[in-house]
Protein backbone atom coordinates (compact mmCIF):
# COMPACT_ATOMS: atom_id res chain seq x y z
CA UNK A 1 0.00 0.00 0.00
CA UNK A 2 1.53 3.25 -1.06
CA UNK A 3 1.28 6.40 0.96
CA UNK A 4 -0.60 9.41 -0.26
CA UNK A 5 0.76 12.90 0.04
CA UNK A 6 -0.33 16.31 -1.19
CA UNK A 7 2.24 18.66 -2.58
CA UNK A 8 1.61 22.22 -3.71
CA UNK A 9 2.82 23.19 -7.19
CA UNK A 10 3.09 26.90 -7.88
CA UNK A 11 2.07 29.73 -7.91
CA UNK A 12 5.81 30.46 -7.85
CA UNK A 13 7.64 27.72 -9.69
CA UNK A 14 10.77 27.88 -11.89
CA UNK A 15 8.95 26.50 -14.91
CA UNK A 16 5.89 28.70 -14.60
CA UNK A 17 6.16 32.20 -15.96
CA UNK A 18 2.79 33.06 -14.50
CA UNK A 19 0.95 32.13 -11.31
CA UNK A 20 -1.23 29.05 -11.38
CA UNK A 21 -1.45 26.80 -8.37
CA UNK A 22 -2.05 23.05 -8.38
CA UNK A 23 -2.56 20.85 -5.37
CA UNK A 24 -1.16 17.49 -6.47
CA UNK A 25 -2.32 14.38 -4.67
CA UNK A 26 0.52 11.90 -5.07
CA UNK A 27 0.73 8.18 -4.59
CA UNK A 28 4.49 7.66 -4.42
CA UNK A 29 5.63 9.36 -7.64
CA UNK A 30 2.29 9.12 -9.46
CA UNK A 31 -0.17 11.97 -9.52
CA UNK A 32 -3.62 10.73 -8.56
CA UNK A 33 -5.52 13.97 -8.65
CA UNK A 34 -4.79 17.63 -9.23
CA UNK A 35 -6.87 20.51 -7.94
CA UNK A 36 -6.33 23.75 -9.84
CA UNK A 37 -6.48 27.14 -8.27
CA UNK A 38 -6.16 30.46 -10.04
CA UNK A 39 -7.06 34.02 -9.15
CA UNK A 40 -3.74 35.28 -7.85
CA UNK A 41 -3.61 38.22 -10.23
CA UNK A 42 -7.25 38.84 -11.09
CA UNK A 43 -7.57 42.41 -12.34
CA UNK A 44 -11.28 42.84 -12.94
CA UNK A 45 -10.84 44.40 -16.38
CA UNK A 46 -14.36 43.36 -17.36
CA UNK A 47 -15.68 45.72 -14.69
CA UNK A 48 -14.06 48.68 -16.46
CA UNK A 49 -17.08 48.88 -18.77
CA UNK A 50 -18.59 51.15 -16.11
CA UNK A 51 -15.80 53.69 -16.48
CA UNK A 52 -14.67 53.48 -20.09
CA UNK A 53 -16.96 54.00 -23.05
CA UNK A 54 -17.33 51.37 -25.74
CA UNK A 55 -14.57 52.86 -27.91
CA UNK A 56 -12.09 53.17 -25.06
CA UNK A 57 -12.79 49.54 -24.14
CA UNK A 58 -10.85 48.55 -27.28
CA UNK A 59 -7.69 49.76 -25.55
CA UNK A 60 -8.60 47.81 -22.43
CA UNK A 61 -9.31 44.66 -24.45
CA UNK A 62 -5.97 44.95 -26.27
CA UNK A 63 -4.18 45.17 -22.95
CA UNK A 64 -5.73 42.06 -21.39
CA UNK A 65 -2.65 40.11 -22.39
CA UNK A 66 0.63 40.87 -24.06
CA UNK A 67 0.81 37.85 -26.31
CA UNK A 68 -2.85 37.66 -27.35
CA UNK A 69 -3.20 41.44 -27.74
CA UNK A 70 -4.30 41.20 -31.35
CA UNK A 71 -6.86 38.49 -30.66
CA UNK A 72 -8.54 40.28 -27.80
CA UNK A 73 -8.85 43.55 -29.70
CA UNK A 74 -10.17 41.70 -32.72
CA UNK A 75 -12.75 39.70 -30.75
CA UNK A 76 -14.12 42.71 -28.94
CA UNK A 77 -14.29 44.86 -32.08
CA UNK A 78 -15.94 42.03 -34.00
CA UNK A 79 -18.65 41.67 -31.37
CA UNK A 80 -19.39 45.40 -31.28
CA UNK A 81 -19.35 45.60 -35.08
CA UNK A 82 -21.98 42.83 -35.21
CA UNK A 83 -24.14 44.66 -32.68
CA UNK A 84 -23.87 47.93 -34.60
CA UNK A 85 -24.31 46.15 -37.93
CA UNK A 86 -21.13 47.57 -39.42
CA UNK A 87 -19.53 45.87 -42.40
CA UNK A 88 -15.80 46.54 -42.36
CA UNK A 89 -13.92 47.10 -45.65
CA UNK A 90 -12.31 44.11 -47.34
CA UNK A 91 -8.81 45.46 -47.00
CA UNK A 92 -9.26 45.78 -43.25
CA UNK A 93 -10.45 42.16 -43.11
CA UNK A 94 -7.32 40.97 -44.89
CA UNK A 95 -5.03 43.09 -42.75
CA UNK A 96 -6.70 41.73 -39.61
CA UNK A 97 -6.10 38.23 -40.91
CA UNK A 98 -2.44 38.97 -41.63
CA UNK A 99 -1.86 40.47 -38.20
CA UNK A 100 -3.63 37.69 -36.31
CA UNK A 101 -1.73 34.99 -38.23
CA UNK A 102 1.53 36.82 -37.53
CA UNK A 103 0.67 36.78 -33.86
CA UNK A 104 0.03 33.04 -34.18
CA UNK A 105 3.57 32.61 -35.51
CA UNK A 106 4.96 34.68 -32.66
CA UNK A 107 2.89 32.96 -29.98
CA UNK A 108 3.78 29.45 -31.15
CA UNK A 109 7.48 30.34 -31.44
CA UNK A 110 7.36 31.63 -27.88
CA UNK A 111 5.71 28.43 -26.76
CA UNK A 112 8.26 26.22 -28.53
CA UNK A 113 11.02 28.15 -26.80
CA UNK A 114 9.40 27.72 -23.40
CA UNK A 115 8.93 24.01 -24.04
CA UNK A 116 12.59 23.60 -25.02
CA UNK A 117 13.53 25.47 -21.87
CA UNK A 118 11.29 23.22 -19.75
CA UNK A 119 13.08 20.07 -20.85
CA UNK A 120 16.45 21.72 -20.56
CA UNK A 121 17.45 22.31 -24.20
CA UNK A 122 18.62 25.88 -23.69
CA UNK A 123 20.22 26.59 -27.05
CA UNK A 124 17.07 25.46 -28.86
CA UNK A 125 15.09 27.81 -26.63
CA UNK A 126 17.33 30.71 -27.64
CA UNK A 127 17.01 29.78 -31.33
CA UNK A 128 13.20 29.79 -31.12
CA UNK A 129 13.14 33.16 -29.43
CA UNK A 130 15.56 34.60 -31.95
CA UNK A 131 13.11 33.74 -34.71
CA UNK A 132 10.28 35.18 -32.64
CA UNK A 133 12.26 38.40 -32.33
CA UNK A 134 12.07 38.81 -36.10
CA UNK A 135 8.28 38.54 -35.98
CA UNK A 136 8.21 41.16 -33.23
CA UNK A 137 10.30 43.44 -35.44
CA UNK A 138 7.70 42.99 -38.18
CA UNK A 139 5.01 44.05 -35.74
CA UNK A 140 6.98 47.12 -34.80
CA UNK A 141 7.40 48.10 -38.43
CA UNK A 142 3.72 47.55 -39.17
CA UNK A 143 1.97 48.91 -36.11
CA UNK A 144 4.55 50.73 -34.02
CA UNK A 145 4.33 48.38 -31.07
CA UNK A 146 6.21 45.17 -30.43
CA UNK A 147 3.67 43.74 -28.02
CA UNK A 148 0.60 45.99 -27.84
CA UNK A 149 -0.37 46.81 -31.39
CA UNK A 150 -3.12 49.42 -30.88
CA UNK A 151 -4.32 49.08 -34.46
CA UNK A 152 -7.79 47.71 -33.86
CA UNK A 153 -10.73 50.05 -34.07
CA UNK A 154 -14.44 49.48 -34.15
CA UNK A 155 -15.17 49.63 -37.88
CA UNK A 156 -11.77 48.59 -39.18
CA UNK A 157 -8.14 49.35 -38.53
CA UNK A 158 -6.46 52.54 -37.40
CA UNK A 159 -3.49 52.33 -39.74
CA UNK A 160 -3.04 50.93 -43.19
CA UNK A 161 -0.13 48.68 -44.08
CA UNK A 162 1.22 49.87 -47.43
CA UNK A 163 1.73 47.33 -50.19
CA UNK A 164 5.51 47.63 -50.28
CA UNK A 165 5.58 46.85 -46.55
CA UNK A 166 3.57 43.68 -47.20
CA UNK A 167 5.98 42.76 -49.99
CA UNK A 168 8.87 43.22 -47.58
CA UNK A 169 7.06 40.99 -45.07
CA UNK A 170 6.85 38.26 -47.66
CA UNK A 171 10.62 38.21 -47.97
CA UNK A 172 11.02 38.18 -44.21
CA UNK A 173 8.57 35.29 -43.86
CA UNK A 174 10.55 33.26 -46.40
CA UNK A 175 13.61 33.70 -44.19
CA UNK A 176 11.66 32.79 -41.07
CA UNK A 177 10.38 29.63 -42.74
CA UNK A 178 13.91 28.63 -43.68
CA UNK A 179 15.11 29.08 -40.10
CA UNK A 180 12.07 27.25 -38.80
CA UNK A 181 12.96 24.25 -40.94
CA UNK A 182 16.23 24.02 -39.02
CA UNK A 183 14.74 24.62 -35.60
CA UNK A 184 11.88 22.15 -35.98
CA UNK A 185 14.27 19.26 -36.72
CA UNK A 186 15.26 18.64 -33.08
CA UNK A 187 11.59 18.80 -32.05
CA UNK A 188 10.63 16.14 -34.57
CA UNK A 189 13.67 13.84 -34.45
CA UNK A 190 15.62 14.28 -31.26
CA UNK A 191 15.65 11.30 -28.91
CA UNK A 192 15.82 13.37 -25.74
CA UNK A 193 12.86 15.46 -26.85
CA UNK A 194 10.86 12.38 -27.80
CA UNK A 195 11.59 10.74 -24.45
CA UNK A 196 10.11 13.69 -22.65
CA UNK A 197 7.05 14.09 -24.87
CA UNK A 198 5.89 10.84 -26.49
CA UNK A 199 3.10 9.17 -24.57
CA UNK A 200 3.04 11.82 -21.84
CA UNK A 201 -0.34 13.25 -20.87
CA UNK A 202 -2.72 11.38 -23.13
CA UNK A 203 -6.09 13.07 -23.61
CA UNK A 204 -8.64 10.93 -25.41
CA UNK A 205 -10.87 12.61 -28.03
CA UNK A 206 -14.02 11.80 -26.01
CA UNK A 207 -12.65 13.48 -22.89
CA UNK A 208 -11.30 16.41 -24.88
CA UNK A 209 -14.73 17.07 -26.35
CA UNK A 210 -16.62 16.64 -23.08
CA UNK A 211 -14.28 18.92 -21.14
CA UNK A 212 -14.71 21.76 -23.64
CA UNK A 213 -11.03 21.87 -24.59
CA UNK A 214 -9.90 24.41 -27.17
CA UNK A 215 -7.15 25.13 -29.63
CA UNK A 216 -4.09 23.02 -30.48
CA UNK A 217 -4.63 21.04 -27.27
CA UNK A 218 -7.94 19.82 -28.71
CA UNK A 219 -6.69 19.33 -32.26
CA UNK A 220 -3.81 17.20 -30.97
CA UNK A 221 -6.52 14.82 -29.70
CA UNK A 222 -7.79 14.32 -33.23
CA UNK A 223 -10.79 16.66 -33.25
CA UNK A 224 -10.69 19.04 -36.20
CA UNK A 225 -12.36 22.01 -34.57
CA UNK A 226 -10.84 25.26 -35.72
CA UNK A 227 -13.01 28.36 -35.37
CA UNK A 228 -11.32 29.87 -38.41
CA UNK A 229 -13.13 27.28 -40.54
CA UNK A 230 -16.52 28.75 -39.55
CA UNK A 231 -15.39 31.55 -41.89
CA UNK A 232 -17.35 33.96 -39.77
CA UNK A 233 -14.71 36.59 -39.19
CA UNK A 234 -11.83 38.33 -40.94
CA UNK A 235 -11.02 37.12 -44.44
CA UNK A 236 -10.88 33.42 -43.66
CA UNK A 237 -13.74 32.79 -46.08
CA UNK A 238 -11.38 33.75 -48.94
CA UNK A 239 -8.46 31.66 -47.74
CA UNK A 240 -7.83 27.99 -48.34
CA UNK A 241 -6.69 26.02 -45.35
CA UNK A 242 -7.47 22.82 -43.46
CA UNK A 243 -7.41 22.48 -39.66
CA UNK A 244 -4.26 20.66 -38.54
CA UNK A 245 -4.86 17.63 -36.36
CA UNK A 246 -2.87 14.82 -34.87
CA UNK A 247 -4.29 11.57 -33.55
CA UNK A 248 -1.57 10.65 -31.09
CA UNK A 249 -3.22 12.63 -28.27
CA UNK A 250 0.03 13.12 -26.32
CA UNK A 251 2.41 16.01 -25.63
CA UNK A 252 4.42 15.20 -28.75
CA UNK A 253 1.27 15.55 -30.86
CA UNK A 254 0.63 19.00 -29.34
CA UNK A 255 4.14 20.09 -30.30
CA UNK A 256 3.65 18.73 -33.80
CA UNK A 257 0.32 20.50 -34.24
CA UNK A 258 1.79 23.81 -33.13
CA UNK A 259 4.84 23.55 -35.39
CA UNK A 260 2.65 22.71 -38.37
CA UNK A 261 0.36 25.60 -37.49
CA UNK A 262 3.29 27.98 -37.80
CA UNK A 263 3.82 26.79 -41.39
CA UNK A 264 0.08 27.06 -41.99
CA UNK A 265 -0.01 30.61 -40.61
CA UNK A 266 2.87 31.62 -42.90
CA UNK A 267 0.97 30.09 -45.83
CA UNK A 268 -2.22 31.99 -44.91
CA UNK A 269 -0.29 35.27 -44.72
CA UNK A 270 1.16 34.60 -48.20
CA UNK A 271 -2.32 33.95 -49.59
CA UNK A 272 -3.57 37.16 -47.97
CA UNK A 273 -0.71 39.23 -49.42
CA UNK A 274 -1.54 37.82 -52.88
CA UNK A 275 -5.25 38.50 -52.65
CA UNK A 276 -5.44 41.72 -50.65
CA UNK A 277 -7.65 44.32 -52.37
CA UNK A 278 -7.07 48.06 -52.39
CA UNK A 279 -9.31 50.48 -50.60
CA UNK A 280 -10.10 52.08 -47.29
CA UNK A 281 -9.35 50.36 -43.99
CA UNK A 282 -12.16 51.69 -41.86
CA UNK A 283 -15.88 52.32 -41.96
CA UNK A 284 -17.04 55.30 -39.92
CA UNK A 285 -19.48 54.34 -37.19
CA UNK A 286 -22.46 56.29 -35.97
CA UNK A 287 -24.32 56.18 -32.69
CA UNK A 288 -24.03 53.73 -29.85
CA UNK A 289 -24.36 49.93 -29.84
CA UNK A 290 -27.59 48.35 -28.65
CA UNK A 291 -28.02 44.62 -28.34
CA UNK A 292 -25.96 41.59 -27.46
CA UNK A 293 -23.63 39.32 -29.36
CA UNK A 294 -21.36 36.37 -28.75
CA UNK A 295 -18.32 36.24 -31.01
CA UNK A 296 -15.82 33.44 -31.12
CA UNK A 297 -12.42 33.62 -32.70
CA UNK A 298 -9.46 31.30 -32.95
CA UNK A 299 -6.59 32.75 -30.99
CA UNK A 300 -3.12 31.19 -31.09
CA UNK A 301 -3.97 29.34 -27.90
CA UNK A 302 -7.43 28.28 -28.93
CA UNK A 303 -11.01 29.38 -29.18
CA UNK A 304 -11.86 32.58 -27.35
CA UNK A 305 -15.39 33.86 -26.76
CA UNK A 306 -16.39 37.48 -26.44
CA UNK A 307 -19.82 38.33 -25.13
CA UNK A 308 -20.85 41.97 -25.34
CA UNK A 309 -24.14 43.32 -24.09
CA UNK A 310 -24.88 46.94 -24.89
CA UNK A 311 -27.81 49.13 -23.94
CA UNK A 312 -27.77 51.95 -26.49
CA UNK A 313 -25.70 54.33 -24.38
CA UNK A 314 -22.03 55.24 -24.41
CA UNK A 315 -21.23 52.60 -21.80
CA UNK A 316 -21.85 48.94 -22.51
CA UNK A 317 -23.43 46.69 -19.90
CA UNK A 318 -21.12 43.72 -19.97
CA UNK A 319 -18.02 42.52 -21.70
CA UNK A 320 -17.15 38.92 -21.07
CA UNK A 321 -14.01 37.24 -22.35
CA UNK A 322 -13.67 33.47 -22.11
CA UNK A 323 -10.05 32.74 -22.79
CA UNK A 324 -8.69 29.46 -24.16
CA UNK A 325 -6.56 28.77 -21.09
CA UNK A 326 -9.63 28.92 -18.86
CA UNK A 327 -11.31 26.29 -21.03
CA UNK A 328 -8.20 24.10 -21.01
CA UNK A 329 -7.77 23.88 -17.24
CA UNK A 330 -10.31 21.03 -16.73
CA UNK A 331 -8.55 18.98 -19.41
CA UNK A 332 -5.16 19.80 -17.88
CA UNK A 333 -6.35 18.40 -14.56
CA UNK A 334 -7.66 15.35 -16.42
CA UNK A 335 -4.35 14.56 -18.17
CA UNK A 336 -2.41 14.98 -14.95
CA UNK A 337 -4.17 12.13 -13.20
CA UNK A 338 -1.86 9.17 -13.65
CA UNK A 339 1.28 10.95 -14.79
CA UNK A 340 4.64 11.18 -13.07
CA UNK A 341 5.41 14.15 -10.86
CA UNK A 342 8.39 15.04 -13.08
CA UNK A 343 6.06 15.40 -16.08
CA UNK A 344 3.78 17.94 -14.41
CA UNK A 345 5.75 21.02 -15.61
CA UNK A 346 5.72 19.73 -19.21
CA UNK A 347 1.99 19.07 -19.01
CA UNK A 348 1.26 22.54 -17.66
CA UNK A 349 3.25 23.93 -20.57
CA UNK A 350 1.55 21.83 -23.24
CA UNK A 351 -1.75 23.65 -22.75
CA UNK A 352 0.19 26.87 -23.50
CA UNK A 353 -1.07 28.54 -20.34
CA UNK A 354 -1.67 32.26 -20.44
CA UNK A 355 -2.73 33.15 -16.94
CA UNK A 356 -2.85 36.88 -17.66
CA UNK A 357 -5.57 36.21 -20.21
CA UNK A 358 -7.42 33.98 -17.80
CA UNK A 359 -7.31 36.50 -14.98
CA UNK A 360 -8.66 39.37 -17.00
Amino acid sequence: MSTRSVIPFGPQHPVLPEPIHLDLVLEDEKVVQAIPSIGFIHRGLEKLVDKKDFQEMVYVAERICGICSMGHGLGYCDAVEHIMDVEIPDRAKYLRTILSELSRVHSHMLWLGLLADAFGFESLYMECWRIREEVLDMFEIATGGRVIFSVMKIGGLRRDLPDDMLKDFRGRLDKIEEQLNEVSKPFFNDVAVKNRLVGVGILTPEKADLLGTAGPFLRASGIARDIRSTKGYCAYDQIEFEPIISTQCDSYARTEVRIKEIYQAIDIIRQCIDKIPQGAVETPIKGFPNGEWMTRIEQPRGEALYYVKANGTKFIDRMRVRTPTFANIPALVEVMAGCELADVPILVLTIDPCISCTER
Binding site: K52, E56, Y59, V60, R63, F121, S123, L124, E127, R130, E133, D137, E140, I141, A142, T143, G144, G145, I148, S150, R158, R159, E182, V183, K185, P186, N189, D190, V191, A192, V193
Partner: protein, 169 residues
Protein backbone atom coordinates in the same frame (compact mmCIF):
# COMPACT_ATOMS: atom_id res chain seq x y z
CA UNK B 1 21.60 12.43 -31.45
CA UNK B 2 20.76 15.98 -30.62
CA UNK B 3 23.95 17.17 -32.26
CA UNK B 4 23.05 15.49 -35.54
CA UNK B 5 19.77 17.37 -35.72
CA UNK B 6 21.17 20.59 -34.43
CA UNK B 7 24.71 20.62 -35.84
CA UNK B 8 23.95 22.89 -38.78
CA UNK B 9 22.60 25.56 -36.43
CA UNK B 10 25.50 25.08 -34.02
CA UNK B 11 28.16 25.43 -36.72
CA UNK B 12 26.39 28.42 -38.22
CA UNK B 13 26.24 30.10 -34.83
CA UNK B 14 29.94 29.44 -34.23
CA UNK B 15 30.96 31.46 -37.26
CA UNK B 16 28.33 34.21 -37.30
CA UNK B 17 27.90 37.46 -35.45
CA UNK B 18 25.83 37.43 -32.25
CA UNK B 19 22.09 37.97 -32.68
CA UNK B 20 22.12 40.54 -29.90
CA UNK B 21 23.33 44.14 -29.90
CA UNK B 22 25.92 45.63 -27.56
CA UNK B 23 23.18 47.76 -26.10
CA UNK B 24 24.53 50.94 -24.53
CA UNK B 25 27.18 51.36 -27.26
CA UNK B 26 24.89 50.45 -30.12
CA UNK B 27 21.48 52.01 -29.50
CA UNK B 28 18.52 50.51 -31.30
CA UNK B 29 17.33 52.04 -34.51
CA UNK B 30 13.60 52.30 -34.31
CA UNK B 31 11.38 51.95 -37.36
CA UNK B 32 9.45 55.00 -38.41
CA UNK B 33 6.13 53.88 -36.94
CA UNK B 34 7.32 53.06 -33.42
CA UNK B 35 5.07 54.51 -30.76
CA UNK B 36 7.61 55.92 -28.30
CA UNK B 37 6.17 58.99 -26.63
CA UNK B 38 3.86 61.84 -27.55
CA UNK B 39 5.36 65.18 -28.55
CA UNK B 40 3.43 68.34 -29.17
CA UNK B 41 4.50 71.10 -31.52
CA UNK B 42 3.53 74.06 -29.37
CA UNK B 43 4.00 76.44 -32.31
CA UNK B 44 0.96 74.93 -34.02
CA UNK B 45 -1.18 73.71 -31.11
CA UNK B 46 -4.34 75.76 -30.58
CA UNK B 47 -5.16 74.11 -27.22
CA UNK B 48 -8.50 72.83 -28.49
CA UNK B 49 -8.49 70.11 -25.80
CA UNK B 50 -9.65 67.29 -28.06
CA UNK B 51 -6.64 65.14 -27.09
CA UNK B 52 -7.43 65.44 -23.40
CA UNK B 53 -11.06 64.41 -24.03
CA UNK B 54 -10.13 61.43 -26.19
CA UNK B 55 -7.23 60.12 -24.07
CA UNK B 56 -8.34 56.80 -22.56
CA UNK B 57 -6.13 57.22 -19.49
CA UNK B 58 -6.70 60.98 -19.01
CA UNK B 59 -2.97 61.59 -19.16
CA UNK B 60 -3.27 64.90 -21.02
CA UNK B 61 -4.50 68.12 -19.42
CA UNK B 62 -5.11 71.32 -21.34
CA UNK B 63 -5.35 74.59 -19.45
CA UNK B 64 -6.80 77.22 -21.72
CA UNK B 65 -6.50 80.11 -19.22
CA UNK B 66 -2.81 79.43 -18.51
CA UNK B 67 -2.19 78.48 -22.16
CA UNK B 68 -0.46 75.25 -21.19
CA UNK B 69 -0.57 71.66 -22.45
CA UNK B 70 0.63 69.03 -20.01
CA UNK B 71 1.10 65.28 -20.14
CA UNK B 72 1.82 62.72 -17.44
CA UNK B 73 4.24 60.39 -19.25
CA UNK B 74 3.84 57.63 -16.67
CA UNK B 75 0.10 57.44 -17.30
CA UNK B 76 0.38 57.52 -21.09
CA UNK B 77 -0.12 54.09 -22.66
CA UNK B 78 1.23 55.07 -26.11
CA UNK B 79 -2.04 54.18 -27.84
CA UNK B 80 -1.69 56.98 -30.40
CA UNK B 81 -5.31 58.00 -29.86
CA UNK B 82 -4.50 61.70 -29.33
CA UNK B 83 -2.31 61.82 -32.46
CA UNK B 84 -5.11 60.36 -34.58
CA UNK B 85 -7.66 62.83 -33.23
CA UNK B 86 -5.58 66.01 -33.34
CA UNK B 87 -7.30 68.47 -35.74
CA UNK B 88 -4.17 70.60 -36.20
CA UNK B 89 -1.82 67.58 -36.61
CA UNK B 90 0.55 69.17 -34.11
CA UNK B 91 0.78 66.00 -32.00
CA UNK B 92 3.08 63.22 -33.15
CA UNK B 93 4.67 60.05 -31.82
CA UNK B 94 8.41 60.20 -31.28
CA UNK B 95 10.16 56.87 -31.78
CA UNK B 96 12.06 56.97 -28.49
CA UNK B 97 10.44 55.52 -25.43
CA UNK B 98 9.58 57.48 -22.31
CA UNK B 99 12.55 57.89 -19.98
CA UNK B 100 12.23 55.80 -16.84
CA UNK B 101 12.09 57.73 -13.58
CA UNK B 102 11.79 57.27 -9.85
CA UNK B 103 8.70 59.43 -9.44
CA UNK B 104 5.62 60.30 -11.43
CA UNK B 105 6.13 63.58 -13.19
CA UNK B 106 3.96 65.94 -15.21
CA UNK B 107 5.51 67.60 -18.22
CA UNK B 108 3.99 70.99 -18.96
CA UNK B 109 4.47 72.97 -22.15
CA UNK B 110 3.50 76.60 -22.69
CA UNK B 111 1.95 77.68 -25.91
CA UNK B 112 4.70 79.53 -27.75
CA UNK B 113 4.54 83.30 -28.32
CA UNK B 114 4.43 82.63 -32.02
CA UNK B 115 1.36 80.43 -31.69
CA UNK B 116 -0.40 82.92 -29.42
CA UNK B 117 0.34 85.75 -31.84
CA UNK B 118 -0.78 83.67 -34.82
CA UNK B 119 -3.95 82.66 -33.05
CA UNK B 120 -4.70 86.22 -32.00
CA UNK B 121 -4.14 87.42 -35.55
CA UNK B 122 -6.51 84.73 -36.77
CA UNK B 123 -9.10 85.69 -34.19
CA UNK B 124 -8.73 89.35 -35.08
CA UNK B 125 -9.18 88.56 -38.76
CA UNK B 126 -12.20 86.41 -37.97
CA UNK B 127 -13.65 89.18 -35.86
CA UNK B 128 -13.08 91.72 -38.60
CA UNK B 129 -14.66 89.40 -41.13
CA UNK B 130 -17.65 88.90 -38.88
CA UNK B 131 -17.98 92.62 -38.32
CA UNK B 132 -17.62 93.33 -42.04
CA UNK B 133 -20.18 90.65 -42.89
CA UNK B 134 -22.56 92.03 -40.31
CA UNK B 135 -22.06 95.55 -41.62
CA UNK B 136 -22.57 94.41 -45.21
CA UNK B 137 -25.70 92.53 -44.21
CA UNK B 138 -26.99 95.52 -42.31
CA UNK B 139 -26.26 97.76 -45.26
CA UNK B 140 -27.92 95.34 -47.69
CA UNK B 141 -30.92 95.04 -45.45
CA UNK B 142 -31.07 98.78 -45.03
CA UNK B 143 -30.97 99.23 -48.79
CA UNK B 144 -33.58 96.60 -49.56
CA UNK B 145 -36.04 97.10 -46.75
CA UNK B 146 -35.48 100.13 -44.59
CA UNK B 147 -38.47 99.10 -42.51
CA UNK B 148 -36.98 95.78 -41.35
CA UNK B 149 -33.86 97.23 -39.69
CA UNK B 150 -34.37 95.35 -36.47
CA UNK B 151 -33.82 91.91 -38.04
CA UNK B 152 -30.20 92.12 -39.33
CA UNK B 153 -29.12 93.60 -36.02
CA UNK B 154 -29.69 90.25 -34.32
CA UNK B 155 -27.15 88.11 -36.27
CA UNK B 156 -24.57 90.87 -35.95
CA UNK B 157 -25.05 90.81 -32.20
CA UNK B 158 -24.82 86.99 -32.27
CA UNK B 159 -21.55 87.00 -34.19
CA UNK B 160 -19.81 89.23 -31.70
CA UNK B 161 -19.99 87.03 -28.56
CA UNK B 162 -19.05 83.96 -30.58
CA UNK B 163 -15.79 85.62 -31.60
CA UNK B 164 -14.89 86.61 -28.05
CA UNK B 165 -15.66 83.12 -26.82
CA UNK B 166 -13.21 81.74 -29.35
CA UNK B 167 -10.54 84.11 -28.15
CA UNK B 168 -10.40 82.24 -24.84
CA UNK B 169 -8.91 79.30 -26.64
Amino acid sequence: MSLINFNKTVIKNLFSKPATRKYPFEPKEYPERTRGHVVNDMDVCVLCGLCSIKCPTHAITVDKAEKTWSIRPMSCIQCRCCVDNCPKKCLSMDTHFTEPGSEKITKTFHQSEKAIAAQEALMKAAKERAAAAAAAKAAAAANAQPAANAQPAAPAGGAQPAATEKKDN
